[in-house]
Amino acid sequence: MRPMIDRDQVLHVARLARLRLSEDDVETMTGELSGILEHVDRIGNLDLEGVEPTSHVVALENVLRPDVPRPSLPQDVALASAPEPLNGAFRVPSPQADA
């Protein structure tokens, strides 16, 4: 049986997901995710060799449209909901703390 999720894995996944978890969160999440994964893990034992995975239920391919320029959202409208717009752009903190 695959190991269920442990504390270090929870912290690793939280970092991948860009979620900061409190100490309490880590504890709760470890227990709850393990419980859910234990249930979900039942499909791990099914023999599905040769079964095609479904990524989309409607058979569609190459949905195309003419490549014609058309108006898009004006800049001020696109920026209207931004928490910190600045000079027509989205302002973000520096990627490096000491920069």
Partner: protein, 480 residues
């Protein structure tokens, strides 16, 4: 006033078109009803109806309650989350635009589980919605606000979204009709994404005819959603009166599934009704359906973890921790902006997609999905429809299942397989049953699933059955 609110959408639209009822008066009556919302069904509703000019169309003058997951230009859209509180979208979802083009008008935006993740509406950042039949109970979810609004006499009709049962289950728990169309029948453009390969918009209404009216207006291909295809031939008002020559398949697996005795009794009585109408009951096998929940709770969180990456405090919504570096801002914003269930699913999905686990979880779940779709295909070679209860229980108590996420997930047992297969399914109210442990009798939904794009046939059969059942119970104090 009460007389106006008692009309179905089809009846009201006919009266407005004939000039027997003034559209302004009708809208005003519903506006008043919505303003008196004691169920926390609305997050926002129209305050000033203004000069109301009625557009001609099949829904001319009809107010619609819209789940707050649909972007509506200039009016707040939260998806039940704090992370985009105050967001006013710069455009309107195609489904809402189409309703508008048919003459309908948005009455309000309804409460929902955050990002549509939940089966009880208790995951809304804006507080739970109360079930109009019993305010100590949940309305179901995630389209709980839409279902409670229609059942509670706060809207004549509503729209919602269904990813694993989010239209059908609340419709069942609130005693109304809820239809999840075939994946691709209605555009997803402007619908805030949860799990893109499963999400589908649909109507929540008082009766089957109203569901057909709303579906007819909303369905169709949309250049803004390349996965939308529409329903060939469109949708007409259903009129069938019997079920002669139609075969209804009951999954043989149902015999060993545990669900409430009250729900089972209503389900069996409904099968008897089908036979009275000339329909035939047959047994079908859906051997992979029992793995639906497992596959669903890998696929949906995996897609959600990717879709929700966009809420990072940069382009819209809230920002927190902006004094630190970029990573700190991302992590703080998301920690403070998302609720517990959303975090749980993001974690589950990120884990399932992470290196070393992808094949074991996501890959395997997608294969199960194929198997479930094949099960339905085989079943539909034998029968016209597959029928089940919509939910294993009637409405449960507020707080009853919040401590155990898995028990909440198992609520979607009957609705998830259809979502994974992408096929249409409807829940119609079939009767009342006492909850396990006693108490006031509550609505029980009957689910009917059909092959992809067979909505017209599904609506016809549902219409005939609805008339035979004659469900006319209403929550205390609700007109009509």
């Amino acid at each position: 006033m009460g007389e106006l609110l008692g009309l179905t959408v089809a009846q009201a639209a006919a009266k407005i078109a004939a000039g027997d009822v003034s559209a302004a008066e009708y809208f005003g009556a519903w506006q008043g009803a919505a303003a008196g919302d004691e169920l926390n069904a609305y997050l926002w509703s129209v305050e000033n109806a203004g000069d109301y000019e009625v557009k001609d169309g099949p829904l001319g003058g009809i107010p619609v309650a819209v789940k707050d997951i649909f972007c509506t230009e200039g009016t707040p859209t939260t998806a039940g989350s704090r992370i985009i509180e105050g967001y006013r979208p710069p455009y309107t979802a195609t489904a809402v635009r189409r309703l508008d083009a048919a003459g309908a008008r948005v009455l309000g935006k309804t409460n929902m589980d955050e990002f549509a993740m939940g089966s009880s509406n208790e995951n809304s950042a804006y507080g739970p919605v109360l079930n109009p039949w019993d305010r100590g109970r949940v309305p179901g979810g995630s389209s709980g606000g839409s279902a409670a609004a229609v059942a509670g006499g706060l809207a004549p009709c509503a729209i919602g979204t269904d990813t694993g049962g989010s239209i059908r289950q609340p419709a069942s728990l609130c005693g109304i009709v809820g239809l999840k169309p075939t994946y691709g029948a209605i555009s997803r453009y402007g619908m805030i994404a949860f799990a893109s390969s499963l999400d589908q918009c649909g109507p929540l209404t008082r009766d089957v005819t109203d569901a057909a009216l709303l579906l007819a207006a909303m369905q169709g291909r949309d250049p803004c959603d390349s996965t939308s295809v529409g329903i060939e031939g469109g949708i007409a008002a259903p009129s069938r009166e019997d079920l002669k020559g139609l075969r209804f398949g009951v999954p043989s697996e149902l015999a060993r599934d545990t669900f409430d005795a009250g729900v089972r009794a209503v389900f069996e009585a409904t099968l008897a009704r089908i036979e009275e109408l000339g329909g035939e009951i047959a047994e079908v096998a859906l051997p992979s359906a029992e793995h639906g929940i497992s596959a669903y709770y890998v696929i949906a969180p995996a897609e959600a973890s990717s879709n929700l990456a966009r809420y990072d405090g940069v382009r819209y919504g809230m920002r927190s921790g902006g004094d630190g570096d970029l990573l700190e801002m991302y992590e703080t914003t998301r920690a403070e902006g998302f609720g517990t269930e959303v975090k749980r699913r993001i974690m589950l999905g990120t884990y399932a997609l992470s290196s070393g686990y992808y094949e074991a979880y996501y890959g395997q779940a997608q294969k199960v999905r194929t198997r479930i779709a094949e099960d339905f295909k085989a079943a539909f070679a034998e029968v016209d429809f597959v029928v089940t209860p919509t939910s294993p229980t009637v409405a449960f108590g507020l707080g009853e299942k919040t401590a155990d996420p898995l028990s909440m997930y198992l609520n979607d047992f009957f609705t998830v397989p259809m979502s994974l297969a992408g096929i249409p399914a409807i829940s119609i109210p079939a009767g009342l049953a006492e909850p396990e442990g006693g108490g006031r009798r509550l609505p029980v939904g009957f689910q009917i699933a059909a092959p992809a794009f067979a909505e017209q046939k599904l609506l016809e059969a549902s219409y005939a059955l609805e008339r035979a059942i004659g469900f006319d119970a209403r929550p205390e104090g609700v007109d009509g």
